[in-house]
């Protein structure tokens, strides 16, 4: 398996109103994601994980460093990289199926192709019955499933998920984790998931990157070698969850 995405020595500096006039959000971050790999990035708030994902998405430019997707340098957003946001980013004036078809429409797919692909992706996220619903009529969890179907419809090389379940309540969130695990089992799409839930990261990932704060950088990379589907009841699951928690707590302790 070759490396699909590589980021080398990414730094990001923002202007700020503090004494220095700037703040360092990311410092010297390097990572590589293999084809069909599910990688999660966990870390405390403010560690720059969302900034990192925005840079990979092409929405922000790094202050230093280089990114490549399949050998091509990343320069701006593109259909190569599907993105699911934490906040509701559905087009609320379009129906569910029109939302999922949006990327296909702007890319010039025929009506017949659009219909077939939309059908398949709505089935994948279990929303076939809601084709003609408007986003405003759906629950938060269903809306995020539409967002996932929309991002998958254009068959991106990699799917970037920025705390997609962060705005959901705890129970819906757990349900969505399992749904996403199921979707990944069926598609084996390359995924980077940013989350602050360690449990979510363990349920879903092949590998977990632990980020730390000030400066924001990737401190640890842990392979998750548990069989799928994974259950938090599994003692090995618990053990891994505890050790990742400790890693993060240690770093926070240093800082205090």
């Amino acid at each position: 398996m070759c490396e699909l995405l590589t980021a080398s020595r990414i730094s990001k500096v923002f202007e700020s109103k503090n004494l220095l006039g700037w703040v360092r959000a990311l410092h010297d971050v390097s990572l590589a994601v293999k084809e069909n790999e599910f990688v999660s990035i966990v870390g405390p708030s403010g560690c720059g994980k969302t900034t990192l994902l925005s840079i990979i998405g092409g929405f922000e430019k790094p202050s230093a460093g280089e990114l490549f997707l399949g050998g091509e340098p990343i320069d701006g957003p593109s259909r190569d990289r599907g993105f699911v946001f934490q906040a509701d980013a559905l087009f609320h004036w379009l129906s569910v199926e029109q939302n999922v078809a949006y990327g296909l429409r702007v890319q010039g797919y025929t009506r017949a192709q659009q219909r077939e692909i939309v059908e398949r992706n709505l089935a994948l996220v279990g929303l076939t019955g809601f084709r003609t619903s408007m986003p405003g009529e759906l629950s938060g969890g269903m809306r995020q499933r539409v967002a996932i179907a929309r991002a998958l419809a254009t068959d991106p090389k990699i799917l970037l998920l920025d705390e997609p379940f962060g705005a959901l309540d705890v129970l819906t969130r757990k349900k969505m984790q399992n749904e996403l695990a199921g979707i990944w089992d069926r598609t084996h799409k390359t995924v980077i998931l940013v989350t602050h839930s360690i449990e979510e990261a363990i349920v879903l990932s092949d590998r977990i990157l632990v980020m730390t704060k000030s400066p924001g950088t990737v401190r640890h990379s842990l392979a998750v070698e548990l069989g799928r589907p994974r259950s938090p009841r599994d003692p090995q699951f618990r053990e891994l969850e505890l050790s990742i928690t400790e890693l993060i707590m240690d770093e926070l302790g240093d800082e205090e």
């Binding site: 998405g57 087009f91 609320h92 004036w93 949006y102 938060g140």
Partner: protein
Amino acid sequence: MTHQPISRDARYRRRIARLRAMSTPVKVIKGTLSILIVALVWWAVTDAMRLFTPLVLPSPITVAKAAWQLLFDPELRLFSGGVYNGNLIGHALVSTGRVILGFSVGVIVAVPLGVLLARSRRLEPYVDPVLQILRPIPPIAWTPLAILWFGIGLEAIVFLIFLGAFWPMLLNTISGIREVPPILGRAAASLGASRRQTLFTVVLPAAIPFLFTGLRLSFGSAWITIVAAELIAASEGLGYLIMNARRILAAPDIIVGMLMIGLLGLTFDRLFRALERRLYAP
């Protein structure tokens, strides 16, 4: 937190439903009643108690008679003091036509300019100061200049209406486009939409509520401007009718003209609201 969070949209929809549930007949009865009360008080201070001379404030009955004649029999209202064109419907049509013309030009200029200004951070510092200085000048203050440039006639009036319609539309377009959440544009870009496609398929549709508010305010402003413009620079139209009626001391005709302006303004406002609901069901 075990319950499903109630979304903002759901709450909004429920409020709409409650408003609709307040049954239409009840609203109509209440509305009619309030108009009747105003008319009754009006009648009481004029015909009944004679607190005002009819020359200053004619009774509602006189006004109703005048309205009837102006609508259906305008020749009967030829006063001795010279030529007086009292054709109410004709004047109303002329005014409406002018408003639609000036309003259309205003919207056609304001929307693309607003989009451009909202989307281009580089252009804004150059254009913004000019706009800030011109914006507080009421369209009416342009009247002398408009007459100087275009003479008394259609062009001057359309120019003034254009100014009246232009500002609300421009400002609402700019804020509408700026209020579109950036993640919608990011989502479109990551789905392969070009900048142009993003503008037409995401940014503008997302800004529709603001654009409609702009249209409504803009039409209201145009409607206010036309009457003022016609008071000065016209030889027909509702503003002219009112001004002419004052010249011959026909107070009932002034009031009829004013009520006509109010009713037409209300009608257009309702039309825009209905159109907005049709296009953008919440």
